[in-house]
């Protein structure tokens, strides 16, 4: 057990601020503020502000290989539930807290349109989701991860379902598939518990060193991978995602699309490279290969489906499937650069996709439509949103100097180091596919012959209200800042984490 890092703040404050504070906030709103929208919103923003402060604290404390370890209630593992935050965990926690705060600042206006009178419930559920996601990002305990996974999923089902109409069906489908995924994951955890007698990740890893490769171990890993694969929508387990993203209320889409799948990807990373031992990996090699193939298939299928979409939210949903394919590909290749690229893409894609959903939400709010066609004249009617759209799209396509380029570059280097020209070709050529569907949007936004900008918009005025525009602008700015400062993030947070530092360079381990 490594000691706490002293001297910054009491390390206990950070896990509490990350998980307990939003959980308390959610309960507080449910208990006191139903029907009091303003109070609920104020509580939500304050709560997620504290959450972000805790995440920033974690970033500082966990840079350059620092680790925060904490046991809830002072019960040390293997009996108690432990929190273990490394650089990667802190990075994802910051992503969650940042995106959540942006979405919460953004949401009051659009909620008034989409969910009149239900805003407090929305805030409560969203905070619950944030608490669960943070819990998943920082927990060291595999069963505890399952609990947070279920809490988060339940919150997400609700957030999708409140969209009404078709959303109910989409949510039910999400619930069915999500439950199957969670069950697979739980089965995998049960197998590992049977093999090692522990639920703590580090303990299991320790115990597995003594365990000979066996069918049970293979089953455990396969079940964990399927469960988390369903949750992160790896092709062909992505069926729930397009409908859920499309029919959820705009603010919920941004939150879920930006964050949910990334946290499952992080869990998959931890299982594959933190829990399973290198000695066993040769036995499990096909799993990495399978993930690689599914990742590639996801990139191609997701991108092609995105090209064919007319509804912007659906287009973004399919583009998510493609990008989760990138992440899966990086995790499957498993050398240091590929995994670094995958982790960086969790952040890059999380920010970019949340920003894009916020922009589409803004269009729905102001123009009353979110079809690709309704983009016509966006460059004139909503110039700043259109500019943010361009920046976020650059990041999604992977053009420098945005964050998306860095992620792609590391992934490409990972492919080359693993001596896989086939994967290299897929990743490089996929640029064209994503350029295809985003440039289609640009053409519609800036040059469409049928210009709707002269039509009476649903709401008058120039651009969106500041409270909606500022989070969008912050997202776009973050993408450029992350792209320019990527070496700081990668060297100090990702590569210095024991998990990534322990990975080999070069060919697949």
């Amino acid at each position: 057990m490594q000691p706490h890092r002293e001297g910054f703040v009491d390390a206990a404050l950070i896990p509490v601020g990350l998980v307990v504070v939003p959980l308390t906030g959610a309960l507080l709103i449910a208990a006191t503020s139903i029907g009091a929208t303003r109070r609920a919103h104020a509580l939500t923003v304050i709560t997620s502000g504290i959450n972000l402060a805790a995440a920033l604290g974690a970033l500082i404390a966990c840079s350059d290989g620092g680790v925060i370890e904490y046991a809830y209630g002072g019960w040390r593992p293997p009996f108690g539930i432990a929190v273990r935050i490394d650089g990667i965990g802190a990075l994802i926690a910051a992503l969650i807290a940042g995106v959540a705060l942006a979405v919460f600042i953004y949401s009051p206006q659009i909620l008034r349109v989409e969910l009149p009178r239900d805003e407090p419930s929305f805030f409560a559920m969203s905070l619950l989701l944030v608490a669960a996601l943070q819990g998943m990002a920082v927990t060291a305990d595999l069963f505890n991860l399952y609990v947070f996974l279920e809490i988060g999923s339940l919150a997400a089902y609700t957030l999708v379902a409140v969209g009404g109409g078709v959303a109910t069906l989409a949510s039910f489908r999400y619930l069915l598939i999500g439950t199957v995924g969670a069950s697979f994951y739980l089965l995998g955890v049960a197998y590992l518990f049977a093999l090692t007698g522990s639920l703590n990740g580090a303990d299991i890893a320790q115990a597995l060193m003594e365990v000979a490769p066996s069918a049970a171990l293979v089953a455990a890993v396969v079940f964990l991978a399927i469960g988390l694969g369903l949750k992160m929508a790896i092709f062909p387990m992505h069926g729930w995602l397009p409908d859920a993203y499309t029919y959820a209320p705009s603010a919920a889409s941004a939150l879920i699309a930006g964050l949910m799948t990334k946290v499952s990807a992080l869990a998959l990373l931890r299982v594959l490279y933190g829990v399973i031992q290198p000695a066993h990996r040769s036995l499990l090699l096909p799993i990495g290969d399978v993930i690689v193939i599914l990742g590639c298939a996801g990139i191609v299928v997701g991108s092609l489906m995105a090209v064919a979409q007319r509804d912007l939210k659906r287009l973004l949903a399919y583009s998510s499937i493609a990008h989760l394919g990138f992440i899966a590909l990086g995790l499957g290749i498993g050398n240091r650069d590929a995994v670094t690229g995958a982790v960086f893409n969790m952040v890059a894609h999380g920010v970019a996709k949340a920003t894009l959903f916020l922009i589409v939400g803004g269009m729905t709010y102001r123009l009353g439509s979110r079809s690709v066609k309704s983009l016509a004249g966006l460059g004139r009617s909503m110039p700043l949103s259109a500019a943010a759209l361009v920046i976020a799209a650059f990041s999604m396509i992977g053009l420098p100097p945005t964050a998306g380029f860095t992620a792609k570059w590391y992934l490409i280097m990972g492919c080359l180091e693993a001596d896989r020209p086939d994967l290299f070709a897929v990743v490089v050529a996929s640029t064209l596919l994503s350029a295809w569907y985003f440039l289609r949007l640009f053409e519609a936004a800036f040059f469409s012959a049928e210009d709707h900008s002269a039509d009476e918009p649903l709401r008058a005025g120039w651009e969106l209200p500041v409270s909606m525009l500022a989070p969008i602008a912050a997202g776009a700015a973050a993408l450029i800042a992350l792209g320019l400062a990527n070496q700081t993030v990668i060297v100090r947070l990702i590569e210095s984490s024991a998990l990534v530092a322990g990975l080999a360079r070069g060919a697949t381990p």
């Binding site: 490409i412 490089v428 440039l439």
Partner: protein
């Protein structure tokens, strides 16, 4: 040496101008003042960089490390400064010309036009001053996206189709560049340009060098309109003429050529290319393109398309010169980059002036036009003779050195191609001049010379071509710079 703000301001001035133009959209005079004053300011900056280069070596600045060991970095070496001076000076002229052209035609969306134009110039400055392949790639992609609105400008179906075609070609080029760059980085661990080649590349396996060279040349070859990647350029002529003049004869296409020169001389160098045979292959491909462009130009009735195929041909003169790998040919290639820019911009300016004044855009409609617009057609004649390589016009000198370089490298076939193409140049351009002056007009519409805002720029560029023909080292000293550049490459 300390970081210098000059290269950064060269990129920033047009970028800021683009934003200012958008903000000033409602007041056309203020908006055009933004363009022109930014262009003038840019010339000042590039001239200062030239002075800095001569006095204390290349000015440079490092902005942020984008991947381990490779930063977003700008550096004004001789080749970059030459290109930047050329583009910035011609931007001033084009800005004035654009005012006459766009107002003369009462074009729509002029704000977007001027803003994209300035953004394209910012990207071109970035291309010129990129100190490494990654920075070059970044600005090369930005250039694609900044010029896309200009091709799509008219928003009619042919313009949208041309713009999609342009994007398809250039995005595919970007992918090729990315692939070549990634493999290059994985072998050498650096992407920094080095006169004579990146150290360590010569020791890389031949297959790797072969892949990197092909990918990079394919990537840059699209904008340089190398056969068979040239298809977008004639289609892009649907753009307003100032775009064809500055971007599709100078900034954009020359960025492609510039990238080819960087690849040949500053990534590979003679040592890393030795024994691969790819440089020879490229020289012959360029030679084929030279002939192809000239032959196809013969049959084009649309004046701008005829000029576009001529551009296809002349861009390959430059690539050919660089691929020959001799000092003389390289100097000739760099000089031709400047000379062709001046000549072709003159010709496009003339085409635009004729179109605005008379509404004619076909070669077959130009009989007798020289009597009504003697100055315009006089400039056109200078452009024609210059491109054909007739002394004392500037095209002669660069072609002469290209031919000498070809003989030095013992490629008599390529020299023959250059000579034949010179004759074809006469064949596809001179009849226009001849019929304009010596055939009677077949209609009696009254019109006179073009508006001074168009006439003065085209006369200036024509005179500059003449001046550089008699005195190649005039102004910024293109000839001595070209020799410096060629001398740096072993």
């Amino acid at each position: 040496m300390n970081d210098s703000l000059l290269p950064l301001s060269a990129v920033a001035i047009p970028a800021v101008a683009a934003v200012a133009v958008l903000r000033a959209g409602r007041w056309p005079n203020l908006r055009e003042a933004c363009s022109v004053s930014a262009a003038v300011a840019l010339v000042v900056v590039t001239t200062l960089m030239l002075a800095e280069l001569r006095s204390s070596g290349p000015a440079h600045i490092t902005i942020a490390e984008l991947i381990p060991g490779v930063a977003l970095r700008l550096r004004g070496d001789a080749l970059g400064v030459l290109f930047a001076v050329l583009a910035s000076v011609l931007w001033v002229v084009t800005s004035v010309y654009s005012i006459g052209y766009m107002r003369g035609l009462d074009e729509h969306a002029q704000t977007r036009f001027y803003a994209s134009f300035a953004a394209a110039l910012a990207a071109t400055m970035g291309v010129a001053f990129a100190a490494n392949l990654l920075t070059l790639y970044l600005f090369y992609e930005m250039l694609t996206l900044a010029t896309y609105p200009l091709v799509a400008h008219k928003e009619i179906e042919p313009a949208l189709i041309a713009s999609r075609k342009y994007l398809a070609y250039t995005m595919a080029a970007g992918v090729a560049l990315l692939a070549g760059m990634a493999v290059l980085y994985s072998v050498t661990g650096t992407l920094e340009f080095e006169a004579g080649g990146i150290p360590g590349l010569a020791e890389a396996p031949a297959a790797t060098r072969y892949f990197v060279f092909t990918a990079l040349i394919a990537g840059f070859g699209v904008k340089a309109a190398l056969l068979p990647l040239h298809g977008w350029l004639p289609s892009a002529m649907v753009a307003p003429t100032p775009v064809s003049a500055l971007l599709h004869a100078v900034a954009v296409v020359k960025s492609g050529v510039f990238g080819c020169i960087r690849t040949i001389g500053f990534v590979f160098g003679g040592a890393a290319l030795a024994g691969l045979g790819v440089a020879e292959a490229l020289a012959y491909l360029a030679g084929t393109t030279v002939l192809f462009g000239s032959v196809v130009a013969l049959s084009q009735d649309d004046l701008k398309r005829r000029l576009a195929f001529s551009t296809v041909s002349h861009l390959s003169y430059i690539v050919l010169g660089a691929a020959l790998l001799t000092t003389t040919a390289t100097a000739g290639a760099v000089l031709h980059l400047v000379n062709h820019a001046l000549l072709k911009i003159t010709l496009f300016f003339c085409a635009g002036a004729i179109y605005v004044t008379t509404g004619r855009d076909r070669v077959s409609q130009l009989a007798g036009i020289g009597r009504r617009m003697p100055l315009t057609m006089g400039a056109f004649a200078i452009g024609t003779l210059g491109l054909a390589g007739v002394p004392p016009f500037n095209g002669f000198i660069s072609k002469w050195y290209l031919c000498m370089g070809g003989l030095e490298a013992d490629h008599t076939g390529l020299v023959l191609i250059l000579v034949i193409s010179g004759v074809l140049n006469i064949a596809y351009l001179f009849p226009i001049v001849y019929t304009a002056f010596f055939r009677a007009s077949d209609d009696f519409t009254e019109f006179g010379e073009a508006h001074p805002a168009m006439l003065v720029p085209l006369l200036l560029t024509a005179l500059a071509s003449l001046l550089l023909g008699v005195w190649p080292d005039a102004g910024p000293g293109a000839w001595s710079l070209a020799q410096t550049i060629a001398g740096e490459l072993p």
